[in-house]
């Protein structure tokens, strides 16, 4: 267990001694802030219009602001996380430090879990920046806490899935740019898988929309924590890490 944490700590540290952590977390905060203000503006205008036409002035903040904001956040993650995972294996391979890891008394899974936790920790830090924005929302308004938390749970699980795909891709190359671009493409494909579902037959439709990362996120942002969706993300992560282990092992055989 200590081995896993040693790797995780090393991984997390490497983001902070380089500009990566600061750039990624900083720009994430900027983009999130922009989306936050944009959706706030829409909310205010909406609420004013609603009042003008005799509707309720207190429209649901969760429905009209938090939900779209979290969906937008998911898209930011889709762009950002591939950059974080790109270096995980690619850099070790390029610099030769992979030889140190693979000849140390560690199992492949310990290394992979360590790396996963390292990136995951940075991702959580990134996400925790948004607590400030949400705090302000609670200060001035009265959003419901439940759907907000379930939305965040969804984001965390989805982020974990992105990271596991990123690790898998990174383990196959020693080029960070390739790792980043391939990860992004794979994630984007998983994202838009459900678009094809509309024009497909009933069985294909069910399969496609089940596989789509986006479909499963929807319920979380509505405030529904369905174990089926939680299981989807967890098994997605586990499968990604399992494939990474296979990839590392096959790399070893091929030399």
């Amino acid at each position: 267990m200590d081995n896993i944490f040693a790797i995780a700590q090393k991984e997390l540290r490497s983001y902070f001694v380089s500009p990566i952590a600061y750039v990624v977390v900083g720009l994430f905060a900027v983009l999130f802030g922009y989306f936050y203000i944009a959706s706030l503006t829409i909310l205010v205008r909406f609420s004013a219009q609603s009042g003008m036409f005799g509707g309720p002035q207190n429209i649901n903040i969760n429905e009209f602001m938090v939900r779209p904001l979290l969906s937008n956040t998911a898209i930011i993650l889709l762009f950002f996380l591939p950059f974080l995972t790109a270096r995980a294996y690619a850099e070790e391979k390029r610099s030769g430090t992979i030889e140190l890891l693979l000849t140390s008394p560690l199992s492949d899974m310990q290394i992979i879990l360590g790396k996963f936790l390292g990136v995951f920790a940075l991702f959580l830090m990134m996400l925790s920046v948004t607590a400030i924005h949400m705090g302000i929302l609670f200060w001035y308004g009265e959003p419901e806490l439940g759907p907000l938390l379930s939305g965040y749970l969804g984001l965390v699980l989805m982020g974990g899935s992105f990271i596991s795909v990123g690790l898998l891709v990174s383990s196959t190359t020693q080029n960070q740019v390739v790792a980043g671009v391939v990860t992004f493409s794979v994630l984007l494909l998983f994202w838009v898988l459900s678009w094809m579902a509309d024009s497909a037959g009933p069985t294909t439709q069910a399969v496609l929309s089940y596989l789509s990362i986006l479909e499963h996120f929807d319920d979380f942002s509505k405030g529904v924590v369905d174990t089926a969706h939680v299981a989807y993300y967890l098994s997605f992560i586990a499968f990604g890490l399992f494939l990474t282990a296979k990839s590392v092992d096959s790399e070893r055989w091929r030399g």
């Binding site: 040693a6 610099s95 030889e99 693979l102 140390s104 030399g255």
Partner: protein, 339 residues
């Protein structure tokens, strides 16, 4: 302590190593000698569990590297060809991290790291970033990393490559010092290095063991066909016949006379030391002996020799006692060319 049994490694149709077998007893230093691309690194990677062999097996301290990798790796320290350092960590941070993943108990970590830094004399750069170290320091931090967990076996892939002559001598001293507590395999393509540090030598070429011997026997083999290069001022006379008459001389090849004498190459019959006789012959003929030096066989020549001649009858008839002293600068030159 270390056993390699019929190990074969194929990359697709190409065999990097084929049917390699050798063993190293506890406390020995074994030199793995071979030209670049001979399969040294592949052999070491198999021994350290970095990659599995296609056939055969490797055993470290009684543990099959692929049946029980964690046990075998716990007893192995490995320095790859380029030291596996994280450029953004300081030396101390790096060694502490390695100690942690090598399962050094947390209570011992500090002392082990300090001890390893002391033995490899990198304590003066303990707080510098690994990425900013000179090649010599990087190599030594790499060595420090191998001994942190006090392993039974050290596997060092070209530990002196790219170092300057002074550092090479220091590194060799360090390795010899470590040999007391550890069994060591080191690879190199530099011959003198082996004769100075190793007790046994395995020469591999194209993935096969070409010879396995002690360095003394190996040097004997070399001496067997020694060639001396002379610069002779023979005042217009062709020295060939006079030198060919010297006992022990197999062949004489004289060049044209130049302003600075004539270049002559004299080859001895196997096992004979003809240096004194040849010098005497030149002097007694009244010629000027301007220069005389042995032509050292390059490693390639030895390989040619070892792979083409069947019999292994070379016997070191003469002890080569100065070899140690005058080999070092040559080694330094070879290595800096290589680096």
């Amino acid at each position: 302590m270390i056993e390699v049994q019929h190990v074969t490694k194929r990359y697709g149709p190409v065999a990097a190593v084929s049917d390699l077998s050798f063993r190293v007893e506890a406390g020995q230093i074994l030199g793995l000698l071979g030209p670049n691309g001979a399969g040294k690194t592949t052999t070491m990677r198999i021994l350290t569990g970095y990659m599995p062999p296609t056939e055969g097996k490797a055993v470290i301290a009684g543990f099959d590297v692929f049946e029980s990798p964690v046990d075998a790796k716990r007893r192995t320290g490995y320095l790859p060809e380029s030291p596996p350092l994280y450029p953004d960590m300081t030396v101390r941070e790096y060694l502490t991290f390695v100690a942690r993943i090598k399962a050094v108990p947390s209570s011992d970590r500090r002392t082990r790291v300090d001890d390893a830094m002391g033995r490899t004399s990198v304590d003066d750069v303990a707080d510098r970033q690994c990425g900013k170290l000179s090649k010599g320091y990087r190599q030594r931090v790499g060595l420090a990393q191998t001994i942190l967990h006090n392993p039974d076996v050290l596997i060092l892939d070209e530990p002196t490559a790219g170092l300057d002559p002074k550092q090479i001598i220091e590194t060799r001293e360090l390795i010899k010092e470590l040999a007391g507590d550890h069994t060591i395999i080191l690879s190199t393509h530099i011959l003198p290095e082996v004769s100075q540090t190793c007790e046994r030598v395995v020469i591999i070429n194209q993935g096969r063991v070409v010879a396995e011997d002690t360095p003394d026997n190996l040097t004997g083999r070399l001496r067997g066909s020694e060639t001396i290069r002379l610069q002779v001022d023979s005042s217009g006379v062709d020295p060939t016949s006079a030198l060919a008459a010297v006992p022990g001389v197999a062949q004489v090849h004289a060049g044209d006379a130049g302003s600075d004498g004539r270049l002559v190459e004299v080859q001895a019959v196997e096992g004979a030391d003809i240096r004194r006789q040849v010098a005497n012959a030149v002097v007694s003929n009244g010629w000027g002996l301007l220069e005389m030096r042995p032509v050292r066989l390059s490693l390639e020549d030895i390989f040619l020799q070892l792979t083409t001649t069947e019999e292994e009858d070379a016997d070191a008839s003469v002890e080569d006692d100065e070899a140690g002293a005058d080999d070092t600068p040559a080694a330094g030159r070879t290595e800096s060319d290589h680096g």
